[in-house]
Amino acid sequence: MKDLLTKINNLATQKYGAHYAEARAQKLNKTMLTLKEERVEAAKQGIENGVAIRVLVNGAWGFASVGSFDIAILAAAVSDACKMAKTASVRLKKPIKLAATNAIEDKVVSKPKKNPADVQMEEKLKTALTINENALRFDSRIKSCSIDYYDLNGKSFFINSEGSSIEQDKLCVWARITASAMEDGAFTFSREEIGSTAGYELFDNQLPEILGEKVAKRAIQQLSAIPPKGGKFPVVLGPNVVGVFVHEAFGHLAEADLALSGGVLASNLGRKIGSDLVTFYDDGTIEGTFGAFKYDDEGVPSQKTLLIKNGVVSGLMHNRETAHKFEVDPTGNARAEDFRVEPIIRMRCTYMAPRDQTFEELIKDVKTGYFFKSFRGGQANLDGTFQVGIQEGYEIHNGEIGVPVRNASISGNALETLHKVDAVGKDFMLDPGRCGKGQIAFICDGGPHIRVSEVVVGGSA
């Protein structure tokens, strides 16, 4: 494989005038299951082979993807990529340049306790069915339970024209469980995601029985929940909500490509945008977490990147192109979903660092407010506007947790909200997730429990 990819890169640099070339070949094996209630909709297995070629010609990118390892097809693809890049470069005012990196030769072997490739389909189905049964039989008001299971096992080869040659195993296991409940015309639903880059041993830590119950319990609890009052309130956020806030409301703004595209962070580097208690990291090195890897898809080592320290913006997430623009080192955030797409700047495991408060200390001074434990979805805009929907939340009255609320959401501007973080817990938790930015990336996010002195709470009331 190394020889083949080197030949392709040489064609680009020696024959078609590329200043830089990289080739990324992948062999991927996937297993997917979809269950709806007790019905197995389909047991699926897939094989995908392909090569991504990326070249820099006259400062413009050319990219080609083909599902083949055939030298003639790859040679045609690299010629296409170089020609297109040349055409596009005609109008280029600022040619793209890459930050320098060390050439790396390495082979990264994953060492799962249980490789999903060695686990029989029957076993995977049994796990999924167990989750399902435990959710469905939890309460007669549970009306549905769907499970999506996915595992990936494969290899990725990365060779560039600067001497890097990296072979990395690709491995991950993921599942999403969704349950719904109904009573007296009220519909509620609940979702849980689990994921790991370690191996199928994920299910030894996340027991299928408990997972099923957990999802069902939340849906049932929501049935008796009341809508929140709209308006500004103090809120205590659980690690799961903190995670999605860090990821959606702040993290995307700290992706250097979006910062450059007019995001609010570019002009705030080195400035204080949050309270002293706010410290954020994006870390690709926590072994086994969703979003962990040794080298990114530009061959740059993954690392722990400081984004905010004590409220001050300290860094952004970079690929080689943006690192050159900002005159910093690349941070190893260039990721591509597979060989069909180009690497772009993506988060890895993004979290808020814990401090020293207990949960009781966080809620004891809240007179009227909310505790939001788990999120339903989140979204943000480059101007810092964010919205996070809540799937599990409670009222707080005089320092005590009250009745559950449903269909709540919080919204506001990320930078204003970060100033209002007035207490940060000492606990810490991460949750896996998937992030969409034109392509899907497996990520993690989390943090401690925190308190925000004021945020807009929306609901249907």
Binding site: E41, E48, K143, G262, S411, N413, G459, S460
Partner: protein
């Protein structure tokens, strides 16, 4: 790389079915997909990226004793790989659990004709052509206002073809083209940045208007720079297609899928023939809509596409079915099995979800609002409750309408309520229809929408 000819694709599909039956499948279905796309990307206001993606593959679904297995590969030029996929599909089926509701793959039917879904000019596009479209769009976006910048966008042309065969006699091939251009803009003044504004054109034929796209995206951003707050109130809101797509996509679309209805996941269960929306609202799912972005001859199971009434004058008429859910209800599939290329088994989805236009122009609609909002982009619709329809979203941004005219932009405005209630309060449907992904719709005006000001 030249595209695969229809007879080669058909042969691949038919061979895969034969191989599966020979290896022990009682029923088999094969779907062969090819997509070729050329795109250029705009970053930081300049054309700096190009790509060419060729993706081909084969997916096989087999049934053994009512268990279903599926496997796919993107290695299509090796007959052994095809055999291997058939084996993988069979091993998946044998490991799985029988589904007693399985009533067989769909049978052969006559295929309809579609209009204006393929244009050779798109297949023949050169990178020079695409760069020219992008340049026109960028120039137009840059000329509107000094404070507005095109930040990202792209132009892309693609060819897609699919061949399907099954053991019940289905055998079909269809091909199509699509071309699109889009640009996102931002307005900046002092330290203030507007939300991202966006415009696009997408078409099955080579007839984009990149100048319009650039200009409109820039005009939106320019009008979003100066902002004023709005009061918390209930008022008339005009939803443009962008907002409609968000709001309906996570709620109404789910409610009319037959599998959700059968699983008790739809508020429309047992409501066929009942009034579920304002009588101003008529919606068809039309897989044959002339030049529709989702138009093709057949669906992901080889069932002919058709035009299905979903809501007529507010009355719920039909749910959308694939083969499996239809047979469960002793009905015919409506041709709504959708497929993500060769990578997945079919699942129910809308084709062209067509909100039938009314007769009011956009100006006439605005004139009917004394005090209200017009909303383009929404944030947070994906956290709506898909079953109950409850939503709470942020308009990014919204524009205030006073006495029939758009007066100013407002940031951070939240809209809250229930989509299914909102459908009952649609009082005007515009005539300014446009296509946006699966949605074909005009603007709609809704009364009494809850607005949470900032």
């Amino acid at each position: 790389m030249a595209v695969l000819e229809d007879n080669i694709m058909m042969q691949l599909a038919e061979n895969a079915v034969k191989a599966s039956l020979k290896k022990g499948a009682q029923e088999a279905e094969a779907y062969v997909y090819e997509g070729q796309a050329t795109n250029i990307g705009i970053e930081l206001g300049q054309i700096s990226k190009t790509n060419r993606i060729i993706d081909r593959g084969l997916g096989i679904r087999v049934i053994v004793n009512k268990t279903i297995g599926f496997a796919y590969t993107n290695i299509t030029d090796d007959p052994q790989a095809v055999e291997k996929v058939a084996e993988k599909a069979l091993s998946a089926a044998r490991a799985s659990k029988p589904d007693n509701d399985w009533r067989g793959l769909p049978q052969e039917k006559l295929y309809p004709k579609t209009k204006r879904t393929f244009d050779q000019k798109i297949v023949d596009l050169t990178s020079e052509d695409i760069v020219k479209i992008a340049s026109t769009m960028l120039d137009a976006a840059g000329e509107v206002d000094k404070r507005v910048f095109p930040v990202e966008g792209g132009v892309g042309g693609g060819y897609i073809s699919g061949a399907i065969a099954n053991s019940s006699g289905i055998s079909g091939f269809d091909k199509g083209t699509i071309i699109e251009c889009s640009v996102a803009t931002l307005g900046k003044e002092n330290h203030l940045v507007t939300p991202v504004c966006f415009e696009f054109n997408a078409s099955r034929e080579y007839n984009l208007d990149p100048e319009w796209v650039g200009r409109e995206a820039a005009k939106l951003a320019a009008s979003a720079i100066k902002t004023r707050s709005v009061e918390t109130t209930s008022a008339k809101v005009i939803f443009t297609q962008f907002a409609l797509q968000e709001l309906l996509g996570y709620t109404l679309t789910n409610a009319i899928k037959a599998d959700n209805v059968q699983r008790g996941q739809s508020p429309f269960k047992d409501k066929i023939g009942e009034k579920v929306a304002s009588e101003n609202l008529t919606i068809y799912d039309d897989g044959l809509f002339e030049s529709g972005l989702r138009t093709s001859i057949f669906d992901g199971e080889g069932v002919p596409h058709q035009k299905t009434p979903v809501i007529e004058k507010g009355v719920l008429r039909n749910f959308l079915y694939d083969n499996y859910s239809a047979k469960k209800d002793s009905k015919e599939s409506t041709g709504n099995a959708s497929r993500a290329g060769y990578l997945s088994t079919p699942s129910i989805d809308t084709t062209n979800f067509h909100v039938i236009p009314g007769n009011k122009t956009s100006d006439e609609m605005l004139r009917e609002v004394d005090d209200g909002l017009i909303v383009y982009f929404l944030q947070g619709a994906h956290s709506s409750n898909p079953v109950s329809g409850e939503f709470s979203v942020v308009a990014t941004p919204a524009w205030k309408i006073e006495k029939g005219e758009i007066t100013h932009c407002s940031r951070g405005v939240m809209l809250a309520g229930n989509v299914f209630e909102l459908l009952k309060n649609v009082n005007v449907v515009g005539c300014n229809e446009r296509q946006m992904g699966s949605l074909i719709a005009p603007w709609i005006m809704v009364e009494n929408v809850r607005i949470v000001g900032k």
